[in-house]
């Protein structure tokens, strides 16, 4: 299972990086969304996918899934949500001010060197 999940995480990363390298601002924002999904699966995979019960103490359950990666991912999900919301609004404002979403046009000029 880890083999499969590692490949899935890798492919999500591939898709995310491909989007981030494109010229369109909106694609970059979408790419960061995919990137965080890939990263969460990556953490989960590295920790191992074993365990037959969720990490909640309940009668009879002994073989818990590893709780630490889950805690880390939970934190990461919330933070990536905050960041996604932020860059989404940033993209909106950038577009509103510069009236373009072409990243290759968004660069400094010589006066700002």
């Amino acid at each position: 299972m880890e083999l499969l999940m590692a490949i899935v995480a890798g492919l999500l990363f591939t898709a995310a990086i491909y989007l981030i390298l494109s010229r369109s601002l909106i694609k970059v924002v979408l790419g960061t969304g995919l990137l965080s999904h890939g990263a969460h699966l990556f953490i989960l995979t590295m920790g191992g996918l074993g365990g037959s019960a969720p990490p909640v103490l309940a009668d009879g359950a002994g073989d818990f899934a590893d709780p630490l990666p889950q805690a880390l991912i939970l934190t990461a999900i919330v933070i990536s949500f905050g960041v996604t919301a932020f860059i989404l609004v940033l993209a909106y404002r950038t577009y509103a001010v510069h009236e373009t979403d072409d990243l290759s046009l968004m660069k400094g000029n010589d006066e700002h060197d």
Binding site: S22, G38, A58, Y95
Partner: protein, 802 residues
């Protein structure tokens, strides 16, 4: 008395100069400053008898004892001689500057602060026994010289000259620091005296020659040797008292001092002897040859300084030969070097002051406009005549004696039969003789083209007249010394020069008296140098009278084939080249930078994983594959592909949502209920956010992305994905220590009183993470609000206005 503190006396006095300049505006600030070099000169003069008797005085103050760095003032013959030159000529220069610089027009507060700083730096250089503090003072001379050259900072020439001298001398100084550190490591001490006594321990070290070369780079740049002399002519933009003091008598001799001081250590190295001797002689010839080309009085003197410094340098090299042979011929060389050093400081100081006087009283330094000033400025002419003829090496002036000794040493060089001197040694006296002829020519050129010939008073900006007496005092004192040295050479020799020679060659002489050489003006008809001098006078006179006919030879040199052109080219090339280099990879487009980062990260990760054998796949530890997970993976990947391929915004957002929900399903499958819950909620809100912003977001466009671009993107993205997969697999397969999670599982009930392990970790075991995650969310919220609400367009942000 701890006289090491006296080094700092001028710098401390400099602190009071600005307030004196402002408060005592009625009196020229220079009068107050004059007291300092005079006091120092008087004090250090009292050491002459002791030092001439072979003693030395040491005074030290620990600066950083743990690193072995201290201020040590070590007075032996060599440092005492330099100290007296610095303070003595310093006093005369300050006196001269009182009359040269106008009290009302000039910023005297600045001038004397820089000058006093320089005096401290110079005293520190010559008295320091610790190489690190020596380096400190060395760079302080570069800095104060920079400030003094750029004193008239509103002129372009001053700024250019100051920058050029700074670049070259500081560059050389850094090389020298390298040499010092190498010496410190090899000899295990920073003290020069210790280094000399420990010499046998490290003389064979492979780094020894490197240290010698680095040290010489420092000395050559400071002493304006070939090819580093180019800063000196440009430094003539400084006020004339500065040129007289720094750029003829003291600072440029710091390099000579360094060579003399380190001769006991490096004299055994043939590289040292060849470099010092050869470069010195080349500089001597080059400087004297090009001095005749100049038309500016100070430029002639600058090239003549270069040339004379080369002369002394070559003598120092010949002095190092004395270590390799018992022939007494070579013992003359070091004596000649020090003797000429004294002579040069005296006559060159006076000549610079005369050039300043001429400039001051006629308004120009261009020798083509000058002429016939002899009758108008008789005193200046007399001083110039004495200084000029001493420079040319004629009797009855001091320069004659040291020139004789110089020719004698150079003739002796062809008898030296080591380091293949036998083959090339004969070149030395020949070049030295030719250079002497040119020296003769430019000395006469300087004196007679300025003061003799027809009067051109109508061409001059000012009506020429003799300088005020105050301005003439210093050059007169120097000129009198020039004559005095000729008549009492042995007094100077035994009290000042011989102790310095003994200090520069401590292994050869135990007492200064042994180093003294009887200097006589008349060596009898059999003396080779005398006949050489006669030849110099004959040929020199001939060349001088026919100057008009052969001077066009200088026009043959193409403008862009000079060292200055090379320096300018190097400067603009490095500036423009660096600019072009950084522009070539810093193109301002974010995609380029991301490509650098991702390419670097993925390549490094993959290469290191395999090169270091870190990749490992442990098939046994894998958990079983389930059908649901495979199906879910397919959904997630399809969603991701949809995001890439979709042509409009709405389908891309929905596809992204699909990926998010399938990730939530993964969390369900992998026994992570809290994650699944959070992921579902967050994904829903995210999609809602995207849809909320939908109307304001730009349409999906490719912006003319080419196939090539896309291919590069795909390759880089694939490499990153591959590295992520490989890292995930090897991380999973290489579990070297057991997870800490067992502790959480065991204690979650007993210690924390909870059942949900993930939640207990979040709020109990690792509550700080959660605290700051809350902070992140709040900051993101505030930032979003700020970005939407605040509009600063009208309040000065340039970008928003455009």
């Amino acid at each position: 008395m701890e006289f090491v503190w006296l080094i700092f006396l001028p710098a401390v006095a400099a602190l009071f100069v600005p307030s004196l300049f402002r408060r005592a505006a009625g009196i020229h600030t220079g009068w107050f400053v004059l007291a300092i070099p005079l006091v120092l000169f008087g004090y250090f003069s009292t050491y002459i008898p002791r030092v001439a008797g072979g003693e030395h005085a040491v005074s030290s103050f620990d600066w950083i004892p743990s690193l072995g760095i201290s201020f040590v003032s070590y007075l032996d013959g060599l440092s005492l001689l330099f100290t007296l030159l610095i303070t003595g000529i310093g006093s005369l220069v300050v006196l001269y500057s009182v009359f040269y610089l106008d009290r009302k027009k000039e910023k005297l507060g600045n001038f004397y602060v820089y000058l006093l700083l320089f005096m401290t730096a110079m005293l520190g250089v010559v008295q320091s026994d610790n190489v690190i503090s020596l380096y400190l003072f060395w760079e302080l001379t570069s800095i104060s010289s920079f400030l003094l050259i750029g004193y008239w900072y509103t002129r372009d020439g001053s700024r250019f000259g100051a920058l050029k001298s700074m670049m070259i001398t500081v560059g050389g100084g850094l090389m020298m620091l390298g040499g010092f550190v190498l010496l410190g490591i090899m000899g295990d001490t920073y003290s020069i005296r210790e280094l000399i006594t420990r010499l046998p321990d490290y003389a064979g070290d492979p780094l020894f020659t490197l240290a010698a070369v680095l040290l010489l780079l420092g000395a050559f740049t400071k002493s304006a040797q070939f090819p580093f002399y180019i800063w000196l002519p440009d430094a003539m933009e400084a006020p004339t008292p500065v040129s007289a003091y720094l750029h003829s008598a003291t600072m440029v001799k710091a390099g000579l001092y360094l060579v003399a001081r380190f001769t006991p250590i490096f004299a055994g190295s043939s590289v040292w002897i060849w470099l010092v001797c050869g470069i010195g002689l080349l500089t001597l010839f080059w400087g004297s040859f090009f001095a005749v080309k100049q038309t500016d009085l100070k430029a002639i003197l600058a090239f003549s300084t270069v040339s004379q410094l080369g002369l002394i340098m070559s003598l120092l090299g010949a002095g190092a030969i004395a270590y390799h042979t018992d022939d007494p011929l070579f013992r003359v060389a070091m004596f000649a070097a020090i003797f000429h050093l004294v002579n040069h400081a005296v006559f060159k100081g006076s000549l610079f002051m005369i050039a300043g006087i001429v400039d001051h009283e006629t308004g120009t330094r261009d020798i083509r406009k000058l002429g016939g000033l002899m009758s108008i400025m008789p005193i200046s002419f007399t001083v110039a005549f004495i200084g000029g003829l001493s420079m040319a090496g004629l009797p009855p002036f001091g320069g004659f004696l040291s020139k004789e000794l110089f020719l004698e040493s150079m003739v002796a060089l062809k008898h030296f039969d080591l380091f293949s001197f036998g083959t090339w040694g004969v070149l030395f006296p020949v070049i030295a003789w030719i250079a002497s002829v040119f020296t003769f020519v430019y000395s006469f050129y300087f004196v007679f083209h300025t003061f003799a010939g027809e009067k051109k008073a109508d061409k001059l900006p000012l009506k020429p007249h003799e300088a005020p007496i105050g301005m003439l005092i210093s050059p007169i004192i120097l000129a009198v010394s020039v004559v005095a040295i000729f008549f009492i050479p042995n007094v100077v020799g035994s009290w000042l020069v011989a102790p310095a020679v003994a200090a520069a060659q401590p292994q050869l002489y135990s007492l200064p008296a042994d180093a003294a050489i009887h200097v006589a003006a008349w060596h009898g008809p059999k003396s080779v140098p005398m006949w050489l001098t006669v030849g110099v006078i004959a040929i020199g006179t001939m060349l001088f009278t026919t100057m008009k006919s052969w001077r066009p030879v200088y026009a043959l040199q193409p403008r862009n084939l000079s060292l200055n052109a090379f320096y300018d080219g190097l400067m603009s090339f490095s500036e423009r080249g660096m600019n072009r280099l950084s522009r070539s990879f810093m193109n301002g487009i974010i995609r380029t930078y991301l490509i650098y980062m991702f390419a670097f990260l993925s390549v490094m990760t993959i290469v290191i994983l395999f090169a270091k054998g870190a990749f490992e796949l442990d098939m046994d530890s894998l958990s079983p594959v389930t059908l649901f997970a495979v199906l879910n993976a397919v959904v997630a990947l399809l969603g991701a592909a949809m995001v890439i391929l979709s042509k409009n915004r709405i389908s891309a957002i929905i596809a992204l949502g699909a990926v998010g929900y399938s990730v939530a399903l993964f969390f369900v499958l992998f026994k992570a209920p809290d994650l699944a819950l959070t992921q579902l909620v967050i994904e829903t809100i995210s999609v809602a956010l995207f849809l909320l912003a939908f109307r304001h977001l730009p349409a999906m466009k490719t912006h003319g992305e080419t196939k090539g671009n896309k291919l590069v993107n795909a390759i880089i993205a694939g490499a990153v994905g591959l590295s992520v997969t490989l890292v995930a697999l090897s991380a999973h397969s290489n579990k070297l220590v057991a997870s800490i999670s067992q502790f959480y599982k065991d204690t979650v009930q007993t210690e924390a009183g909870g059942g949900n392990i993930v939640n207990v970790i979040l709020v109990d075991y690792r509550g700080f993470d959660t605290l700051f995650e809350i902070a992140v969310l709040s900051i993101a919220g505030i930032a979003v609000l700020g970005m939407i609400k605040l509009r600063l367009a009208g309040k000065g942000s340039d970008d928003e206005k455009k």
